[in-house]
């Protein structure tokens, strides 16, 4: 089998991993080739609109496990292939030099046993770092069940490690991935957290959850995420809309991946990490997100008694709770209002999304509409109308 065909098979098997970020590390260029950019760089965008920044491949897709949702499950009749370390280095270095990619994302199916698989990954990455002097970004998978010594070894070579939790509850894992368990994944996360320093996984660790393969509610999912962020200081949790690859009585028969739901979860994820929201602020137990309105607007409409907020007075954290205002524009408002009184016209110049914010604020005690329009019905109706064209852009119903 030639490299061309291997790359086809092993990138095809790797594409369902959502992570593509290349930020958070500033590995210097030293003697060899390349460096890591702290902000991350997207090099291309594939036909599904997702960014390509890393060469996302599996080392092998010959797996000993038989997880229901996975394309590489043992009982699937697909072509199997395995890269040699030299082949991976050849492709990575040549792609990197031509500026196609920001680095390598090396994952693997579990071959023989977890430790054996980890050794293969370590060999490859170490060849790339030491023989080819490659200083670009490397994201590697930590295989659940691997020994702590191999995690230590791998962590010193890469910028990011990730172990996928895949499903938000133990019951769902038992159902769909019986040979995995949550403990083996969290154990790895714990080890990475304990060892983390500027030479060990400098860009931190991440994980991924599949959305829509089980009955778990959005509340279960964001609650799980917030626990993971808290307990293991994860950098990111990725959400991946379930795409039916395998036929199984245990899996739902979806025809369209739940992309809008995935989008809402990412929005909630951001609200928890950068806006000071808690999972229980955003959703009641067993609830799902409103697909028509984003989580922040939904929250604001539910807590309308806290609004309207006066732009020229309220503090930073209060500003962050206003729909249409994010950390950047909130900081700008704080700085600018020391110099002059902010009006609705100025807000637009500061990057505030006025079409959402205008319902929830006053500028110098002026409301954007007539005062009696400040009620839930009016605002909700207007906002749903404004969201509509965006809905078409997502092309969910075509």
């Amino acid at each position: 089998m030639d490299v061309q065909e291997k790359l086809q098979i092993l990138s095809d098997s790797a594409k369902y991993d959502a992570s593509c970020s290349s930020s958070g590390s500033k590995r210097a260029s030293k003697k060899g080739l390349g460096n890591a950019s702290i902000s991350g760089i997207c090099h291309s965008y594939s036909n599904d609109g997702r960014c390509i920044s890393l060469l996302k491949i599996l080392l092998t897709n010959a797996c000993i496990y038989n997880c229901e949702y996975c394309i590489n499950r043992r009982s699937n009749n697909i072509k199997r292939a395995t890269f040699t370390p030299e082949e991976i280095c050849y492709i990575t270095v040549n792609f990197y030099k031509r500026n196609y990619i920001e680095g390598l994302f090396l994952s693997s199916a579990v071959i023989k046993n977890p430790d054996y698989t980890m050794d293969l990954i370590i060999n490859t990455v170490s060849l790339l770092r030491n023989k080819y002097n490659f200083n670009g970004y490397i994201h590697a998978k930590a295989i659940p069940g691997a020994s702590s010594s191999s995690i230590k070894k791998l962590g010193q070579l890469v910028d990011r490690l990730s172990a996928n939790i895949e499903l938000p509850s133990e019951a769902s894992i038992k159902l769909l991935a019986p040979s995995k368990n949550e403990k083996s994944v969290t154990k790895i996360m714990q080890q990475i957290k304990e060892n983390k320093n500027k030479n060990f996984v400098p860009a931190g660790q991440s994980t991924q959850m599949i959305i829509g393969a089980t009955n778990d509610s959005d509340y279960d999912i964001i609650n799980k995420s917030s626990q993971l962020y808290q307990n293991y200081s994860l950098k990111r949790v990725f959400y991946s809309a379930y795409i039916p690859i395998n036929q199984s009585s245990l899996l739902p028969t979806l025809t369209i991946p739940p992309l809008k739901r995935e989008h809402r979860l990412y929005q909630a994820d951001w609200l928890m990490r950068f806006y000071g929201f808690k999972a229980k602020d955003l959703l009641e137990k067993d609830d799902n997100f409103n697909l028509l309105l984003d989580p922040k607007i939904t929250w604001a409409l539910k807590n309308l008694n806290e609004f309207p907020k006066e732009i020229n007075k309220v503090n930073y954290y209060e500003l962050l709770k206003i729909p249409g205002i994010g950390p950047t524009s909130a900081k700008r408002i704080i700085k600018c209002r020391k110099k002059f009184k902010i009006t609705f016209l100025d807000l637009k110049k500061m990057g505030v999304v006025l079409k959402r914010a205008k319902y929830f604020i006053t500028c110098d005690n002026q409301y954007y509409f007539k005062r009696d329009n400040f009620n839930k019905n009016f605002i909700e109706k207007k906002l749903i109308l404004e969201e509509r064209p965006k809905y078409e852009q997502m092309r969910l119903f075509e």
Binding site: S39, Y45, S46, N47, N99, Y100, Q393
Partner: protein, 253 residues
């Protein structure tokens, strides 16, 4: 009646600064500032030039903070038609307010200026990803780019670190600027070089094929969203992004 006067400068950054310094000293109120290259005479307007004076240009630059200088250099590299007049007002105001100017977003020159400057840094960042090198048979990496703004000077700083042990050339096709790098030094050439026909490395074809292959398989069919793809990677850049070449040719027919 106010006279409509357009001031002309000689196309370089330092020349523009010299002109602005003189305008500030003379308390002139320019209607517009244009580079010689772009200036088109119109009826009812007159134009004026000042003699270039490096001394007062330097003096003005020394009065500006590092942050301000960085911002106006970015504005200068922009493709925006009104950048000169924005820079003029930005400098005038930053002499008055110093670095507080960055918080004075209610001033038109500030929010316009910072918008222009941001546009340039954004495009530079995009090209850190979108630049595609090809390996020539003399071991030089060669890339052609077609950015909207004049970003090659900012972009080259990035590759100077990243590809420090390689030899590379980036050409801005529209502006005819070559940026060449070898052993820690960058050279810019602004002329039409007599370039021989480019000969590629023998493996170049194979690597490009691998990349296009990867690009196609990594996309998930069920999630296809070409509109989203195009908004993140605008069509105007596709010409030199090799994985989009085939798409480009097809749509041209």
């Amino acid at each position: 009646m106010n006279r409509v006067v357009t001031y002309i400068y000689d196309d370089t950054f330092i020349d523009l600064i010299s002109l602005i310094a003189k305008l500030i000293i003379n308390k002139a109120r320019p209607y517009s500032i244009q580079s010689k290259k772009n200036y088109v005479a119109t009826l009812f307007s007159e134009y004026k030039e000042y003699e270039f004076d490096p001394k007062i240009a330097k003096k003005l630059l020394n009065r500006l903070s590092h942050k301000t200088k960085k911002a106006i250099i970015n504005m200068y590299l922009s493709n925006n038609n009104n950048k000169e007049i924005v820079i003029y007002y930005f400098i005038k105001n930053s002499l008055k307010y110093e670095d507080d100017i960055f918080q004075m977003r209610n001033l038109k020159c500030v929010h316009e200026g910072l918008k222009i400057s941001k546009n340039v840094t954004r495009e530079t960042h995009k090209f850190k990803g979108f630049t595609r090198f090809k390996l020539l048979n003399n071991n030089v990496l060669y890339a052609e780019i077609l950015p909207t703004n004049n970003i090659i000077f900012l972009l080259s700083k990035h590759f100077k670190v990243r590809l420090r042990n390689e030899k590379w050339v980036i050409k801005d096709v529209k502006r005819n600027i070559y940026c060449m790098y070898e052993k820690g030094k960058i050279y810019y050439v602004n002329d039409d070089l007599e370039v021989n026909k480019l000969e590629f490395d023998e493996n170049e074809n194979q690597i490009e094929k691998l990349w296009k292959n990867f690009f196609n398989t990594i996309s998930i069919k069920e999630r296809e969203n070409k509109k989203h793809q195009m908004s993140l990677m605008p069509k105007k850049y596709w010409k030199y992004i090799i994985e989009m070449e085939d798409v480009n040719e097809k749509s041209d027919k």
